[in-house]
Structures are given as C-alpha cells and as structure tokens.
C-alpha cells in the first residue's frame, strides 16, 4: 500500500504527512492530526457533523478521500476560535441556547458560517435551506435558526454586540429566566470530547462480530485464526465471561455476547481488539461460527400463541411482562353506555437516531479498577451489573459517563460496555469501540412497536363510562426496559380522564426482532396515541367538539387516577385552553366542517416546505427577459 504524501494547509498551518490511500479526510483530521472537533455521525454524507471548509467551500469530510485534500486549504471547527475568543456565530449559538447534546454543533456552526459568508443578508428561509445538509436531533432547529439570525444581525449592525454578554438570570434567581448553559462554549468550539474522540496511549481498537440470523443455535465458534493474526491482541466470546453473565433492567436476560444461541440479527457474538481498525475488521472475517438455524418469530401476536418458537427458557409463553389493571365493573359500564366504540391502533418501531453513535473506552487502571468511559445513561445500575458479570467487587468497577451526544433513552442499556471491560481485562490495554451508524441502528434498542385494541363506552352527553384496552408491545429479543414501558403504558392508558370502569392489559412480548427499549415518553406515546385518537372518533360519533369531549371528562385538582394516584394539581384544562387558542381551533364537531377551513392558511402558521427562497427574484426576471 503506497502511502500518499499529502501537502495541505490545515487551519493555517502547512503540513506534509503520509496518509493511507483509503483514509477519508475525516479520518486523517481526527486520527492523524487529533482534530476531533468535527465528528462522524453517519459516514455517508447525511448528517453534516463532519462539515469542513476545503478551499473555502464547505464539504462533508466523510465523503472525501484524503487525496482530494492534496494542496488544499482545510479549515475545521478548530479554526474558528483559534485565538480563544468565540466567533460571532459561536457566541450567538451560546446566547441563543442553540446547543443541547452538542454533537451536531461543530458541523452546524460550520454550516452557519458558510451560510452567512455566502449571503450576509440571508433571511430565515434561506438560512434553513443553506443549513439543509446538517441534521440535529435535539433542538428542533428553531434555536439554531435564531442563533444564525442573531449573528447576521449583529454583523450587519442591526443588533448590538452587547447582546452576547447580557445576563438574564441574576445569582440565585433562575426560575422562569433564560440561563446560559455553561458547557455551550465547549460544544460550539468542538473542544468537548465525546467517547469516540478520546484516545489513550497504547489503545487498541475493538470490532464486534454480529449475528446474521434472527434465531439460531451456536454450534461452535472458532477464533483460533483470528487470535494468531498479527496485530490482534485479544478475541472474546461468551466463554470469557468470568462471573454471572446477563444484563437488563428488570430481568437480566441478555448475555454480554450471545451465549448458546443468537436471538436477533445484529446481536454480538464475539469481539476483537487489535492495533488498528482494519486489522480488527480483518480478524472478524477470520472467526468461524457454525449456526444451526431455529424457527423465528417476528410478530408479537404470533409469539403469544401456543406452539410459537420460544426465545428464553424462563418465559415459555414469550411474555416479558403483563400488566393487568381492573377498576369498577366493565361489563356493567358497557351495559349502561349509550354508545360503544371499538377500534384498533398500531405504532411502529422508531430509532432514536442520536447524532453520536455509541462509543466507549475501557481500561484497567493501576489499582486494578476496570474503568468504562461511555455515553451511558444509567451508570450506577450498570456498575452493579458489570461487577457481577466480571466477578469483581464493586470497588473494582468504575463507570465514567462521557458527554452523551444525544440519548433520548437509547443509551440506557449496557449493550457494549461488557465487551469493553472483558477486552480491557484480557489485553490489559486500553480499548476503544466506536459504532458505525449502521451498527448503531441494527444492534441497539428501538421504541416499542405496539398494537392496541380499544373499546370505550360513553353516555350521549360525552361522559366516558368505561374503557377496555389491550396493548401488545413487541419487546424484541431481550427484556431491557420492556417491563417498565408496558407498565407505564397501562398507568397512562386512561389518559387524564375520569373513567369509572376500566380494564387494561398491556403485554411486552419476546420476538426475534431488534430489542425494544427506553425511548423518551416510555410507553406513554403508544397509549396516548390510541386513547386520544379514540376520543376524536367518539367526539365525531356524538357530534361533540373534540375539545369539549375532553373537557367533559377532564380530571381536576385532587382527582384520583385509576391506579390510585392522588393528583394535587391537574393542568389539563389550562393546557386545553392554550392549545385551542394557539391552534385557531374552529369550534364544532369534526363532522361540521365545510370544505374551507378557517384554522388553516393563517399568517402565523408555517408554510409547507419548499426550496428556492433564492429564486423569488429570479422568477420575475426570467419572465421579463
């Protein structure tokens, strides 16, 4: 492999270096020059965390073979605040609160810089268009656009620069005030180190062999060839687990790596630590696994039927968790009702898609403490589990939570930290694993897909007499947070409404799908989607305004929920009033609308997405020519 002799100017400094022909500019900047401000979020040009200037033109460095940088001037995020003082845009991002997890922010600041350089007077629509190549999952973009507009206005003298130094909250007086986030400067400059940005002397690179089958018995794993490859320092399988294997949230049903059988496509089967990434990858290819395929089940309703393939011996009915709730007399409730409405609802799996793919670093320190650094949303629980898995006293296990580049619940499970610990112990060297986006999607938990059957009985005046709900959630191959998610779905099934008779059954079911787990709202979404959709349908049947049917049934201060929780204050009525007002709601039953809706096409409603803000003037000109 002849190296490339690369001459370029990086952040104003001339460099001459050897680079590998297959390296991307991003690898070269991050790995060889230690410029870790720009990140890798997808590796496929989709997310923009890697955006850098090449000869003044913003480009995605994950799509640029390093040879394309030959002779070029490269500017990374590190170039913007070189003197230590934040750039105008960086200050505006800080002031506007535009950074949350921060992982997209270096790329976003670069894109904003490019936008304002291209058109210092760009309006919000044009700013949106020019930032179109950069994705953020936390902010909903509004604060980011605010920041760019603020920087534009300061630059054009329409806002005073003193706006950046204004302080809204006085010492000790924070509630209801805008508080500056103190970690924003580290994010807008790219200085904050996420786990994938961290290195240690002597560090090895980890890669994971994953199951190609949804359900199969592991007949044998032969790692001999991989272990003897030059550059390979350690290979592990479930046989390397010294203690009691198994992690989870409620049931510890998931081994660190597949033990005896695999239960979903993407499940870890073995892992390798090697001197470099490429060697680790090549070693994976040398591991031979013999599988005996087993019948698999992908539908939770089918998994509940007798004779369905069984995933876990402890749960022959494939039920992870069943939450039954009974209040009052459901049959009597239906008998008393004027109207009974029955419907079915379903929701799908959703990927969290945080911009930071999972990454972690582990080492055994001088006192023999196994230390894991990762964006882990549940370190205390994981510390206890890992101690049991690696058979060490709790004092010999340490978890350090690195900055989480977006979690949304998706980083609450100990999916890979166990492998890192085992490899650090086996090699006695620091080890690091950085997931690819593809790996993150196939192997980590999703939002639970659900199917809900809902039957509701109501009086003619809109009062709900009875609710009967059965919800089946696909928990996938392992338990993770399923038990708690279906628990919360059951608790929230009746919504904030007074309903005297209730029968709720929520189920979490094992299937050979990717495991489902924690995802913000945690079971509330699935239940609320069914109950609230159902209320709209009932309103239509009864000729009631959807707001009205909710007000009729709304819980008030002091109400007791169907799970006997006493609510001190209930804000539902205020929320309904506010929602009705801002939505410009056209009062009346859903059936009463004519073909023109007065609640749409208003000035304060955002127009549909279109591109070409910059053509508005050109249009007229084209016609004139």
């Amino acid at each position: 492999m002849p190296d490339i002799r690369l001459e370029a100017t990086i952040n104003g400094r001339k460099i001459t270096r050897n680079a590998k022909p297959h390296q991307r500019l991003l690898d070269f900047l991050r790995d060889d020059l230690n410029l870790t401000g720009n990140k890798e979020g997808c590796g496929a040009g989709e997310c923009g965390t890697c955006s850098v200037f090449v000869d003044g033109v913003l480009m995605k460095s994950c799509l640029l073979p390093v040879a394309k940088a030959q002779g070029a001037q490269i500017e990374t995020i590190e170039s913007l605040a070189k003197t230590g003082e934040l750039s105008l845009l960086q200050k505006a991002f800080h002031k506007a609160g535009a950074s949350q997890c921060g992982y997209c922010i270096p790329g976003m600041v670069m894109a904003a810089t490019a936008a304002i350089r291209a058109n210092p007077f760009a309006d919000r629509e044009e700013i949106k268009e020019r930032l179109g190549g950069n994705i953020c999952r936390c902010t909903g973009y509004q604060k980011i656009f605010d920041a760019v507009e603020m920087a534009r206005d300061v630059q054009n003298g329409r806002l005073p620069a003193t706006i950046f130094s204004e302080v809204e909250a006085e010492q000790g007086d924070y509630i209801g005030k805008n508080v500056r986030s103190i970690d924003a400067p580290s994010k807008v400059t790219g200085r904050l180190k996420y786990a994938g940005d961290m290195t240690m002397p002597g560090m090895l690179h980890v890669q994971v062999l994953r199951s190609p089958h949804p359900h199969a018995r592991i007949v044998s794993i032969d790692t001999a060839a991989a272990e003897t490859m030059a550059g390979v320092e350690g290979v592990i399988t479930s046989a390397d687990v010294p203690g009691e294997d198994g992690f989870g949230v409620i049931v510890n049903d998931q081994p660190v790596m597949a033990r005896g059988k695999v239960r979903y496509v993407g499940e870890a089967v073995a892992a390798v630590a090697a001197e470099d990434l490429l060697t680790a990858k090549r070693a994976l290819a040398a591991i031979e696994v013999v599988y005996e395929r087993l019948p698999a089940v992908f539908d939770p309703d089918e998994a509940m039927r007798a004779g369905a393939p069984v995933l876990h011996d402890y749960a022959p009915d494939n039920i992870t968790k069943h939450i039954p709730i009974r209040v009052g007399d459901v049959e009597k409730g239906f008998a008393e009702s004027d109207l009974v409405v029955k419907e079915a609802y379903s929701t799908q799996a959703i990927e969290h898609a945080y911009l930071e793919p999972e990454a972690g670093l582990a080492y055994v320190d001088h006192d023999g403490v196994v230390t894991i650094v990762s964006p882990d949303q549940n370190i205390t629980h994981h510390r206890h589990m890992l101690a049991r898995i690696i058979a060490k006293p709790i004092a010999k296990v340490r978890f350090i939570m690195s900055p989480v580049g977006g979690g949304f619940g998706g980083k609450t499970d100990m999916i890979y930290q166990g492998m890192l610990a085992l490899l650090a112990m086996k090699t006695q060297r620091p080890v690091r694993l950085v997931f690819t986006r593809e790996e993150s999607i196939i192997s980590t938990a999703k939002r639970h897909p659900s199917r809900t059957r809902l039957r509701m009985g109501l009086m003619r005046d809109g009062r709900i007499r009875v609710l009967e709900m059965t919800m089946v959630c696909d928990g996938g191959a392992y338990g993770l947070s399923t038990g708690n998610v279906v628990h919360k779905a059951a608790v929230l099934a009746a919504g904030p409404y007074v309903i005297p008779n209730i029968k709720v059954d929520t189920y979490g079911i094992y299937t050979n799908n990717t495991p489902s787990g924690a995802f913000r709202s945690f079971g509330a979404l699935q239940a609320a989607f069914a109950t609230e959709s159902h209320l709209d349908i009932c309103a239509e049947r009864l000729g009631l305004d959807p707001f009205q049917i909710r007000r009729i049934n709304a819980m008030r201060d002091g109400a007791v929920t169907h799970t006997r929780q006493k609510l001190g204050s209930v804000s539902l009525s205020r929320v309904l009033d506010a929602a009705e007002k801002v939505s410009g709601w056209e009062a009346g039953a859903p059936v009463s609308r004519g073909d023109r809706r007065s609640d749409l096409d208003r000035d304060d409603i955002r127009p549909p997405c279109a591109l070409g803000a910059r053509f508005a003037a050109a249009d007229k000109q084209e016609a004139a020519e």
Binding site: P21, A44, L58, L63, E129, G132, L209, V219, T436, G612
Partner: protein, 321 residues
C-alpha cells in the same frame, strides 16, 4: 426437524472503501494510461458521493478495490462552456455550478432548480454530473433534467495509443438501474445539450424531506411560448423516479406544442404520463404525484416563460403555481 447447518464465515465489514492506491491523474492521457496499467483492478471515481456510501454495510459492504482513479481533477473534464445554441459540460462539472455560474443558469433554466433540490450545498460542491449519469440511479435528478435538453454524451477510450471518441443520446446511454452503455476502459468526457435561454423552466421533486433526499418522483419541464404568451411554442418534459430509467415525454410534448394554455389541454396532458409509472413500490402514490407535478411543472414553467396575464387557467394557477 429441518436442520439448516451453516458455517458462516462472516463477510468482512468495512467502514469504508478500501483501496491500495488512489490515483489523481492531471490529464486525460494520464488517466487512460493508469486505466491501461491497472486494467481489471481499478474503478473510476469523480466526486465519490455515490461510491463511498455504496461501499458501506448493508449495501456493497466489503469492498476492496486495488486502485481508484479519480478523474475529478482533470481540467478538460472540469470545464463548462456556453454559446448561443449549445452548452458543453465537462463530466466532472460539480452540480453546484448550476447555481453559481449565472451564464449556465440562464442557458439552462431548469438546472438551478434541479440543483437546489439536489442533496445539499456541500454535496453539490463535490458531486459531479458524470457521476450522476454513470451511476444511473432510477432516482437521479440531473439525468432527467439533461434529457429534457436533448443531451448527448461524449465518450472516449484509449486504444493502440489513440483516443477513440463516440457520442450518443443521453436517454439511450442510460439503460437500466446502475447500467449504462459505457464500455470497459471508456470514460464519460462531457455532456452537450441545447441552450434554451428563452424557455421557462421548472423542476418538481418530492422526497421524504427537503434536503438530502433522493427523488420519489421528479419532473423537469421547459416551456417556450409564442410571442403573445398564449400558446405553447415548445415543450420539453422528462420524468425521473418512476421506473428503471428516466423518461422523456415526447408524446405529451407533441400534444401540447402549438396549443393553448387551457385547463382542458393541461389536464389532458397531465393524465398522459400517469401510466408510465413502473416503479417497484408506491405506484398509486407516484401516479397521483405525476398528475400533480405535470400541472405544477407546466404552469410554473409557462409563468416563468412570460405567460400573458390571464392566459393560464386561474383555477389551476391558484392550486399549482
């Protein structure tokens, strides 16, 4: 029990394309020499925006190509020229140039609108028209737009020390998903097409979001009106995303040419290509989109071509413009 035993030697999983050598020839001669020297072991790349994502897990996956030959720096391929009647675009012309070069934008009214929907500012600076054409994705955006301009491709290969050149129509060059008439050892040198500064242009596209999406359907429309701005003098239409290859809508063009901008004729024209939808998925949705895009494309292009006030049916203008 049906036992399926399998020894799975896993495919090597790469984070990227692995190559032994990455060559950046400075001239066409150097490029052909490299192609000859590495015959059978190389792949040509330009912007790399199709090649790199293609080499990831879940798609081609484990790609190890001994030699990559990057033609994007060859000055001949990077040039573009405009005269009164023709436009010449080197194969390595980046998409962003349609937005940055006013002369190109004027000669090819459709192309800036096509470009603004293409990926994002950053990828457009890197992605080339040659890559879009040779990659021959059924969802490609530039290819159908250029087909509407009657584009021809110029191809060349080196044989016995001489460079052999040939030309063909772009819509014949693209023959199927990821398939073209490009021969072994051949390079796409340029695209040549009509300059139509007097035509109004539109490019309609729908995908899942507004940036960074590939087309579910796209439609390139060019319209020239008579001196009064009341009749179609010329119409050019090409659809993408609706089947294995982009389609020029010659029959619709003939139907409209010389006719008025009436609602009846526009609506009849909009119906004509609906039956062409032959994609593998979402056919019903695409048919609806084609019908709507035809009206939107024709009305927008006609307005930009200077349609007389009131010449376009106001009820359609209200919905589609």
């Amino acid at each position: 029990m049906d036992k399926q035993m399998s020894a799975d030697r896993p495919k090597e999983r790469q984070v990227m394309l692995i190559c032994g050598e990455y060559l950046t020839p400075g001239t066409l001669d150097e490029a052909f020499a490299a192609m000859q020297r590495h015959r059978g072991r190389y792949r040509v790349v330009a912007g790399c925006t199709d090649t790199l994502p293609w080499a990831r897990e879940g798609r081609a996956g484990d790609v190890e190509i001994p030699v990559l030959i990057d033609v994007a720096r060859i000055p001949d391929l990077r040039e573009s020229r405009v005269d009164d009647h023709r436009v010449w675009l080197g194969a390595a012309t980046p998409i962003q140039r349609f937005l940055d070069d006013p002369a190109l934008g004027r000669a090819l009214r459709c192309m800036p609108r096509c470009a603004v929907w293409f990926a994002d500012e950053q990828i457009r600076a890197q992605a080339t028209i040659g890559g879009n054409i040779v990659n021959a994705s059924p969802a490609a955006d530039v290819t159908p737009a250029l087909i509407a301009y009657d584009a021809e491709v110029e191809l060349a290969k080196s044989s016995g020390g001489r460079i052999l050149r040939r030309r063909m129509k772009l819509d014949q060059f693209v023959i199927g998903p990821n398939r073209t008439a490009l021969e072994e050892g051949e390079l796409l040198i340029a695209v040549e097409c009509d300059a139509l500064p007097g035509h109004g242009g539109s490019f309609e596209k729908v995908g899942h979001r507004r940036s960074l999406v590939i087309s579910i359907v796209c439609l390139a429309t060019l319209v020239k009106l008579d001196a009064q701005g009341r009749r179609f003098e010329d119409v050019r239409l090409a659809l993408g995303g609706i089947g294995p290859v982009p389609r020029r809508l010659a029959d619709v063009e003939t139907f409209l040419r010389g006719g008025p901008l009436s609602a009846a004729r526009l609506e009849e024209a909009a119906e004509m290509p609906v039956s062409l939808v032959a994609s593998r998925t979402r056919q019903a949705y695409r048919r609806d989109v084609v019908r709507g895009f035809m009206l939107r494309g024709l009305i927008n292009a006609a307005r930009r071509a200077g349609a007389e006030a009131g010449a376009l049916p106001p009820e359609l203008e209200a919905v589609y413009a």
